[in-house]
Amino acid sequence: MGHPYIPNTREVRGQMLKEIGVASVDELFTDISAKIRLRHKLKLPGPMSELEVKRHVRAILARNRPFTQILSFLGGGVWPHHIPAHVRELVRRSEFLTSYTPYQPEASQGMLQALFEYQSMICELTGMDAANASMYDWATSLGEAALMCARVTGRRKFIVPALINPERFSTLQNYVSGPGLELIKIGYDSRTGQLDVSQLRKELGQDVAGVYVENPSYLGFLETHVDKVAKAAHEAGALFVVGVNPISLGLLRAPGDYGADIVIGEGQPLGNPVSFGGPLLGIFACRDEVKLVRQMPGRLIGMTTALDGRTRGYVMVLQTREQHIRRERATSSICSNEALCGVAAAIYLASLGPRGLRELGEACAASANYAMRKLRAIKDLKVPIFDAPHFNEFTLNCDDVGMSVAKLNAELLKRDIHGGKPLRGEFPELGETSLMCVTELHTKEDIDRLASALAEIAG
């Protein structure tokens, strides 16, 4: 019997062997010496029929509790949003799904144009002039951004805020370890969380390649002094890098407008499911300056014409930055990226438009503010811990309740509610604090339910 994914049956394979004058398929593997030739069968599960596989995998996955079943307030790097049904349908079309890097642009205009549209929309969102066709995620985009700053400026230091997302910081450390760049953390105001600009100015010397801020920050508040940070960085000859959650950019000002040279971020919330943290979508964009664009990592799609000089088409451009042309001299080793997630983001953005994205941002921020108001009212809870405007994430501190966040969350879970991420391991100075996220998925009733549960637990 044949195999559904291997069309040539054993019989046909036998005929093929005969036709090319090979006695058996084993003869095609004689180049593998007997010493390393596997003689036993691999110890693997299966083979299973499609039906059995579904049963098996569903049984394993059933031991997950998705946030459609429990009320979750988790964020912190991936965020749950509603994905319009047509986005998922379109991205599953197999002409997109089963294609690869458009090495033959003439046959791949669909993917190329979709990615060009993605690049264009990311530029509008971020206020940048050039965006690439995706990186792995925000964390690796940050790593690449630091490397790019060093390449462009020839300098060796990179400044980040002390409240940077620790996973991104650890990734950054690995990326800069190659050329051995130095990372410097700048402190924050304990009341407002804002980056300490005077400390920044002290650190800004002739040897700083780039300054990085996250806006909104990892802990949800907005950095209100970004204009000052940009100015200080530029005066010292450093590049200004801003990391964003693009969902906020329907409502918030584009980083390009306040001086960013490079904008990076996490594109997952634009039409891609949370999916236990992957696949994600690294946003990477920069201003239109030759020295920047030519140092940008990743695939770039450009517009051109056919040889008739008229018909518009799209191709990969500036491939001389990439590894398949320049090998060890490439700006980055990235080859396969998150292209399809980028297409999903483009479709999502095209569907929401400027009005939808603004309304969505307002909805998330409004719900978050409502949640903060209701939770702040609960005795012994400090919500948020920083006196600053927030977008859709905020901190919740329960030191005065006399309970750890872990215990608080365990209690919440009994009520089928998932609390925010505990932060004490990452920022011990913040005590028993968690990071809460609210999106358009949360109704007023959901937030009220959280509030009464917390009131009960804290009381």
Binding site: Q319, T320, I325, E328, R329
Partner: protein, 370 residues
Amino acid sequence: MRKKLGLIVNPIAGMGGRVGLKGTDGPDTLAKALKLGAKPVSPARAVEALRAIKRSGLKFDLVTYPHEMGKDEAREAGLKARVIGEIVSGRTSAEDTKRAAREMLAEGVDLLLIAGGDGTMADVIEAIGMRAPVLGIPCGVKLHSAAFANTPEAAGDVAARFLRDGLPLREAEVMDIDEEAYREGRLSAKLKGHARVPYEPTMVQATKEGSAGFELADQKAIARWVLELMERGRIYVLGPGTTTRAVAEELGIRDSTLLGVDLVLDHKLLARDVNERQILEAIEGKPAAIIVSPIGRQGFIFGRGNQQISPGVIRKVGKENVLVVATPHKLGLTPILKVDTGDAVLDDKFRGYIRVMTGYRQMRMVMVSQ
């Protein structure tokens, strides 16, 4: 706009070979060759090349010199040519070659096809430098210059492709026999200059965007790395070539020689255009290193164009202190390198695989053959 092809044939190039002479420069050697029964070689080669261009079907304008310096060959190949200039048939010389090159440059030719040997090519470069692309139809005994195609037919093919589709241009070393060395009984070549030559790379699409751009970037990258590795107090003997010059420039030295050997110490030029004796004197009792690049058509790292770096110098410096630099592009043209220091035992030490620096913190294992 039809492309213009210039053709210069040196009718006496290559005549010495059959009768065992090292070239036919100068009327004495020519007379000797004729007495020994030598027959002209280059006209037939030129015709072969022209026929290859004709086969390509390309429409172009051919500009050439009178009689045996091009017109005759064009006619034999069945090509119409516009003839410029004046010569005395039967008594052509290097001066005619140089004048022809200058006049064709003034005509605005897109490519100059030269049927001749190293001497002829050296004459052309002396006249016009790199102001027009050139390509050599190989007809000489002396074919050390990297500006020659491998065969007359290949010369025709590349010329046609260059004119029709455009091809990247590379910098090729132009060599000629070292008269001084020859008189001393040694055969070695001197670097006379550089020519701009079209070539067919494997990855046309990629390199077409500016192979000259790659070359420069790669040279700078190599220079950056060499700089990082340079030690204070060590004398660096810089061989000729554009890559070693990039190293000097990276150090801030603007007046190093392109065709000669320079000495560098602590990021400063110690001595320019030195000979063997001067090198030996300078490095006596001091730590030293040699930085060389492959030269010529055959990729010689020693023995063509840098004889000042003699066996004595190499032994004194030590093989482990010899750095060979070459861009990947250059190695693509001469994938196997050669040595000919004049000392067979020393040559043997370099045979086999050696490390060649090809970029910033990049090396390649390259074969050095017999």
